[in-house]
Structure formats: C-alpha cells, structure tokens
C-alpha cells in the first residue's frame, strides 16, 4: 500500500517556500516573512503529526520511503525515522519556526534572501535526520554548511566574515574524510557480500575487520566530533555563535550541534561496534574534559554569547559522555540532553538576542538590574538559566543525570569528574544572571540600605579589558522596555517544553527507549 510520503513533505516544504521566494524576485519583506512562516509552519505541523503517529513500541524505521536512484552504485533515496531521529526532526521544525519568528523584527536587511537561506538550511537539517542512505545523508550534511555560513557571514555582526569562513572550512574539512569513509565502507561491504549498497540499515549487518573499523570509525568520528563540537575541536563554535544573528545561533546551537550527536548514534555505534568499544574510553576522556573545560571557560567570559557558547560545549560533553558510556541510561540521557539543550540553549540565545536588540552589545559589563524594568524578561532568563544549570524538575536535569549515571556506571572517574560540573554550572549561570538581571545598572548608585560591608564574600573578579568602558556608549539598561509579545511568543513554547520534559519526561524516554536499546544491542552484540 502506498502511504503518504510525510517525511519528504516535512523535509521539502521549507524548500518549496524558499523556491517561491526565489522566484518572486521583488517580494516585499512582509511577504517574505509570511511565506517563511507558512512554510516552516507546515513543516512543523506535519512533524507534530508524525510524532503523534509514531509508534514507540517498535524499534524499526517508520514512515520509510524508498526510490531507486543510482542503483548501479547502490544509491537510493531512502528516508525513515526511528526513536532517535523522530524527536530531533520535531526539534528541528520547532526551532526553525521559532527562528523565523525570532528574525521577524531583527532582520531588516535583505529580508527575502535571509528567509530563502533559512528555509534551505531547514531542509538540509531535516534531510540529515531523515535520510537512511549514506550518500543522501552526506549530501544533506554538506548542504547545511552553505546557508549557515551565509547566515553568519551576511547577517552576522562585526567580525562575521572570519567566523563564517572559519565555520565553513573547519566543518567541511572534518566532513570530507567522512566521504572517504563512506566509500570505503561501501567497498568493504561489497567485497564481503557482493552487494553494492549505501543503505545504512543494510550496512550495519556486515561485520568488518577490526582494523577497517578502527579507521572508518575515525573518519566518521572526526566529522561528528567537529560538529558536536567535542574538545579540542570546539574553537569554531564561540566565534560562529558570537557573530551569528540570534536566529542563526538558535539554529546552530539547537540543531546543528545535534547533527554530531545524531551521527554518533546512527552511524558510529551500529556500524563499527568493535571500534566503538575500542575508542570509547578515549572519547569519554575528551567528553569529561569538554564538560569541565566548557564550564571553566564560561566562568570567565565577558561576552554573553561566548558564555552561552562555551556552556553548550560543556552540555554537549554530556551527550558524548552518555553515548560512549554505552549503556541504556547513558544513551537515553544523551538523547534527552540533546533535546533539552535544544530548548534551553536556544532560548538562552534568544535571551541574548533580546538584549542585543536593545543594547547592541553583548558585553556583560553593559548590563545590570534589568529585573526591575524587564520583569518578564528576568523571569524567562532566570527560568532558562536554572534549566541550563541542571535544576531538577527542568529538562536539563533529567538528561544530565541519566548521562552522568551512565558514565558513572561505565567509568567511575568520569562520573565523578563530570558531576563536579553541577557546581561550576551553578556558579557561572547564577553569576551571569546576577550581572545582567540583578543588583543595579552600571553606574547606578547602590541601594541606600544595602549593607555592602556585611557581605563576607569578597566581590567578583573585576571585568577584564573591554568590559569596563562599554557603559559609556551603550544605552542605559534602565531604559530598556520589557520583552515584546513576539519575543515572548518565541520563548514561551521552549519554556513549556523545558518544564514538560523536566516534570514528565516519560513519553520522550519511551519514544527513544527501543531504538536506543537496538543500538546498544548492535554495539554490545547481545540481542535484545
């Protein structure tokens, strides 16, 4: 029976929007915004329907579509989702929609081109998550680079070109080796079975020699590690985030980083089980380093966006830690962290965007005491800050605890070291919250009945260069208006999801459970 190709429709409806905008040469800005909204909205609605229709009680791929494409090379157009990719598809469509709304006012320059790029990006990301053919996957994987680089490079801030080029070249260099890996895998499988195919599900059936696995794993790993990004491949991230426009950061943090984690889950683990076992300890070490390192970096950043960027390095460390703990808790945890990071960090970037819209700077030193004149903003910010520092009852905790528990079970030291981050996370997050939302605006006299002297705790490290002189040429934070309804509109769904996943994560966990178990079975060899 021929079923409705829902995945294709989800994936290409943004593309359709982009094409329409492209053909409509002189579309006015409003029209462009609305078309983008509709396109992403359709994609979002359908993905919601897909998630509802998804049957969590079967581990196999669902909503699959297959067309022969280059049969002579074993290349076919294969789509499908399982418990790993389905939630990520949902996340992608949601964040795309939010990005469209978030760009509504801030983007005033080349609006039409902007939305074309954004929609192309959406199609690329969705394609990455739904394609089950390595060739197709690689195509989408690379497609994502171009619009992202454009968004950073055209609509970014001061140092955007450097950031865009760095992002593009770094991630491209990472993924090119994967191409060799893919072809090598194809050839290896062909020599074993005489079948030419790039079908992931088929390729997982083959058993490859340890040496081959070792190298192929590395080829794939590099691409994904740079995307995640794992320490020490992370340095493109702060630059990219700082320069990207708000929506760009949202997509970058919310979805692009997940492509790395997804890659590990979908390819490295099932394809190269032995190699995974061999590499896991090393990768766990890197993950733990990333967790702590990211937190320490975030501790001393003066640029709000850089801080959030480093914090997401730390959070993605949980993902890799969970994945390569190679146990149920770890993998489930990694998945939940990916989702939660998608909600929380994206929201934090929106928060920064709200400030940037008003102050046109991201220097922390320029802000202070916002909670008085922007109470709603402060509430949202506080909420997401707490979520980001892993407060129980919010999505962050569920994932991080599971990931850490997984890590702890496999590698005690990793669990112990990783857990220390709860202290640092609280420290940097509350510190930045205090700097931005609490106390007083820079230059404002202290509260008359503030018993400064009674504070036994000596004050913060004074802001490093650049921080100090910002106040002069930036508007007084006391004059900022509170969040507009549109900004609130972008933040509220994320807040609700964060709360939901934190309080009642069961549906999500059930959604991913079987697929995760299947992957584990593939890695550890025992059947489920």
């Amino acid at each position: 029976m021929e079923q409705f190709p829902i995945l294709s429709v989800i994936t290409y409806s943004p593309l359709v929007g982009a094409v329409v905008l492209f053909l409509w040469g002189n579309a006015p800005a409003r029209a462009a915004r609305w078309i983008a909204l509709i396109a992403s909205g359709v994609s979002f609605a359908l993905s919601g329907a897909m998630l509802l229709a998804f049957d969590p009680n079967q581990a196999s791929m669902q909503f699959t579509e297959t067309f022969e494409w280059l049969p002579e090379l074993g290349i076919a157009y294969r789509l499908g989702v399982d418990g790993i990719s389905a939630p990520l598809v949902g996340l992608t469509t949601l964040l795309t929609l939010i990005a469209v709304i978030a760009s509504w006012d801030p983007i005033r320059y080349r609006v039409r081109e902007y939305y074309i790029t954004l929609l192309l990006l959406a199609t690329g990301m969705l394609g990455v998550f739904v394609s089950l053919d390595l060739f197709l996957f690689y195509i989408f994987w690379e497609i994502v680079l171009i619009p992202m680089a454009l968004i950073i490079g055209i609509w970014g801030s001061a140092n955007r070109v450097y950031a865009a080029v760095k992002f593009f070249l770094y991630t491209l260099a990472g993924s090119l080796l994967m191409l060799v890996g893919i072809v090598a895998l194809y050839q290896e499988y062909f020599q074993q079975t005489g079948i030419r195919t790039l079908n992931v599900l088929e390729l997982t059936q083959g058993n490859y020699s340890p040496t081959f696995q070792f190298w192929a794993f590395l080829a794939f790993f590099l691409a994904f590690a740079i995307k995640v990004p794992m320490w020490p491949f992370h340095t493109w991230l702060p630059d990219a985030h700082v320069e990207a426009p708000t929506a760009g950061s949202v997509i970058l943090a919310g979805v692009l980083l997940k492509m790395g984690g997804y890659g590990f889950l979908r390819f490295n683990l099932p394809l190269f089980p032995e190699a995974t076992q061999r590499w896991a300890p090393a990768i766990v070490v890197l993950s733990v380093i990333a967790i702590l390192y990211g937190a320490l970096m975030a501790l001393v950043q003066q640029d709000f966006k850089k801080l959030v960027a480093y914090s997401s390095v730390s959070h993605m460390g949980f993902v890799t830690l969970g994945i390569f703990a190679l146990n149920q808790q770890g993998l489930s945890g990694a998945m939940v962290v990916m989702l939660s990071h998608g909600f929380v960090t994206s929201a934090l970037f929106l928060i920064v965007g709200v400030l940037y819209e008003r102050a046109h700077t991201r220097e922390l030193a320029a802000f202070g005491g916002l909670a008085r004149n922007m109470p709603v903003f402060a509430a949202f910010f506080g909420f997401f800050a707490l979520a980001s520092l892993g407060l129980p009852g919010l999505s962050g905790f569920v994932g991080e605890f599971l990931a850490l528990l997984g890590g702890f079970q496999s590698y005690r030291w990793a669990g112990v070291l990783g857990t220390t981050v709860v202290i640092f996370a609280a420290w940097y997050m509350l510190r930045v919250y205090q700097r931005v939302a609490l106390v007083r605006a820079p230059g404002e006299p202290p509260d008359p009945d503030d018993p400064e002297l009674r504070v036994s705790l000596a004050h913060e490290v004074p802001p490093v260069a650049g921080g100090g002189d910002v106040e002069h040429h930036t508007p007084d934070p006391r004059t900022f208006p509170d969040v507009t309804w549109r900004e609130a509109l972008t933040l509220t769904p994320l807040a609700l999801l964060t709360l939901w996943v934190g309080v009642y994560p069961l549906p999500v966990l059930e959604l991913i459970e079987l697929s995760v178990r299947a992957i584990l079975a593939a890695v550890t060899g025992e059947n489920m």
Partner: protein
Amino acid sequence: MPLRLVAPEWSLLVPPLIVLGTIVLLLAIDAVSERTARRFALPLALAGQLLALGSLASIDWGQGATTFGVSYRADWFALVVSLIALVAGILSVLVSAGYTESGLEPGVGLAEYLALLLFSVLGTMVVGAAGDFLVLLLGLEMSAVAVYALTAFARRRLTSVEGALKYFLLGAFASAILIYGMAWIYGLTGSIKLSDIAYTLRTVVIPGQPVDPALLLALLLLAVGLGFKIAAVPFHMWTPDAYQGAPTPVSAYMSVVPKVAGFAAVARILVQGLQPLSDQWAGLLALLALVTMVYGNVVAIAQRDLKRMLGYSAIGHTGYMLAGLAAFTTGLAGDRSVGSVLFYLFAYTFMNIGAFGVIAWLQERGLGTTLDDVAGLAGRAPLAALTMAIFMLSLMGMPPLLGFYAKYYVILALIEAGQLWLAVAIVVMSAVSASFYLRVITQMYFQEPGGTWRPVRTPLLGLGLAVMAAATLALGLVSGPILELAQRWPAALT
C-alpha cells in the same frame, strides 16, 4: 595490378564532417562579406554544432566500427569525447557571444574566431576517435594550434600575445617531445596502430620482468608530451599565463576542450595502446596526480586575479582526473578509471566554462578580473552572484552540485582500485581548494560593491550561463545515464 580505392564509411564520419562543413561555410561567408558574416556567423556556428550533436545519434556506437582501416574508430569512447567537445564548443560560443560583439577589433573577422574555435572542437573529436598515432597527432595539433591563435586574439593587449607566445612555444616544444615518444614506440613495436601496439606489447612485456628501457624512455617522452597538454605539474607552467592572457571566452574554452583532447589522447595512447605497460604508467600517473593536485590547489590560494586563480584550480582538477586514470587496474567492465575521468570532464565543462563565463559577463559590464571586482556582486546582480556561487561550490565539490558527483565517482574508482591514499589526498585538497573558491563567494556576498558598473544586455551569454548553472545544479541528480555511458569505455579501449 590495378589500384582499388576503398571508400571510407562516410556514415561514421558524419559528425566531424558537419563541423568541418560549418567551418568551411563560415570562412566562405566571411570571404563573401564581412557584414553577413557578422550577422550570421554566430547562429551558424551554433546550428552547425547542434546539428553535429544531433547527428551523434545517427551512429550505432555499440559495434565500435572503424574506417580508414582502423585509423578512425567510432566507439563509445569516441562518442563521449565528441559529446563533451561539442557541448563545450556550444557553450563556448555562447560565452563568446558578448565578447565577439564588443571586444573584437575591426578587421578581425568574427567568422575566423568561430572557425578557429570549431577547428579545435573538430580536432578534439578526431583525437577521441583516433585509432593510430597519426590521426591522434593530427587531432591534437588541430585542437592546439587553433587555440594558440585564439589566445592571441586580443592582439592589442600585450598580455594576450604574451600568453599566446608562451603557450605556443611550450606547446610546440612539448609536441616535439610527444612525437619523439611516438616515434620510439613505433620503432619498438613496428606499428602506429594502437591496437597493433597493444598486441605486440603483450608479447614483449611479461609482468614481473624488467621492461626494455627504450620502451620506458618512450613511455616517459609520451607522458611528458601528454602531461603538457593536460597541464600536469611540472608541465603546467603555461597554464596560468595563457589563461590570464587570453580573452576570457577563450580562457573558458581552452580550460576545457584542449584538456578533453589531452585526456582523450592519454586514454587512447596509454590505456588502449600501452595497456600492457599499465603497471609502469599507472604509478607514474598517480605520482603526477598527487603533485599536480597539491601544487595547483595550494598556489591558487595566493592568487588575486580570478582568471589566474581558475588557471591554477584547473591544474588542481587535472590532478583529480589524473588520479581517476591512475585508478586503472584491469580495463575490464568493473574498472571505473576512464569512466570517472570522462564524467569528470563532462561535469568540468559546465562548471569551468560557467565560471569563466561569469567573469566575461562582468568584463562586459566594465569590471576587471580580480577578486575586488566581484566584491558585493550579490547586492548588485544577485543572479550573477548566485550563478558564480553555484560554479564555485561545484568546483569545490559541494553536494548536490555536479562537481560533487564527479569527485565522488573518482574517489569511488580509486577506492575500488585500492588506492585509498589518493582518495584521501583528493578530499584533503578539496578542503584546501575550498578556501579560495570560498573567497570568491565571501567577496560577492559579504563585501560592499566597488568599481564602475556599466549595465549592458548580453542575452546569449546570459542564456549560456543560465544553462550551465541549471546543468550544474540538476545534472548531478540524474547523472546515472551519463555515467553509464561513460562507463562503457572498456568496450572501446580494450
């Protein structure tokens, strides 16, 4: 005894004859009157080539029939080469449209220009169909000599002449070496017919046994001569100068068609004629491929003149294609080496002529050819910028553009041949190349426009660019049949 004249199989010769006819017509109307020539030459050239293209269908290439003895072969290989040559010819004519309307000085016939261009196309087709050294050499020279002249076509610009002169001198020098190599092969095998050479060599060369040094010397001389034609390092030196010096449409043309001729010659000579020596030359090609792709891509980074940059990038691509040839293993059905190269040439035709085409388009509008001239193009002419971006990304090998498929098939060929290291080299070099292709995009999209801008209408050029952009975008997705066609080469060459 009486002399019996054997008529050749004219039917096999239809496509080249049509091209030849077009050339004759062009020269004729030019002789008749300058004005009519100016009016009709361009349509005529296009029509002629299109006709030739269509006539390709009239021949059953499957049976690999030959005529003039075995000197002219109508096999799959010939088909693909003629196909690429004609397509490249048509696109080049389109690209030349603007230039021939404005750029040519009075007194220099447009007809001559097109005639020369078609001559070189004809030569390339002949190389593709050559069955012995003689025909092959004639074809090669035909395609080369015409381009020497074309390079110098902007006579008033010294750089044009300089480029032409360098190209010509070194070209002649290289041909001498090439012919010397041919002479030795002839002497050692007693034949200039590729098939006979292969046959004789099979008896001479025993795998594992040391080969007659004279044979090796001959092989080397051939390699040098051909290496020059395809601009392989270290025989590439003419390339950047010629590309930069020549009129842009000519650069566009010469960046592709002579290369096609060169690779066709390499395939005919090495793969078909010297196949028994494959153990000797495959490694050699691998070495050349490595050096070539590294040098071309690295040095391109240091360029600010787009035409020169594309010149070096062309060297880089030669490296990729050589790698594809180096993947030659058995010459049996599974062997993708030559097929991948043919497909690469096909893809390369669109993206490279396209890239030069955009530069020509810019020159029409009074801009120069440096990176600064494309600055802010996206704001000024979004479509042009988009087209250029497409070509750049395709040259970079970004999916889903044509260039990616080409690269993919080469890598596939290499890995199937077990030459992983070359595949790795290719992807590493792609990463390097990305940096300079990306710089063009950065200039176009991330910078503000500068320089003077003279809006003019160039319909044909625009059409050509549109076609090439569309092809670069879409052909990859349906690359199956083309690849399949290119993949029939073993039937022809072994």
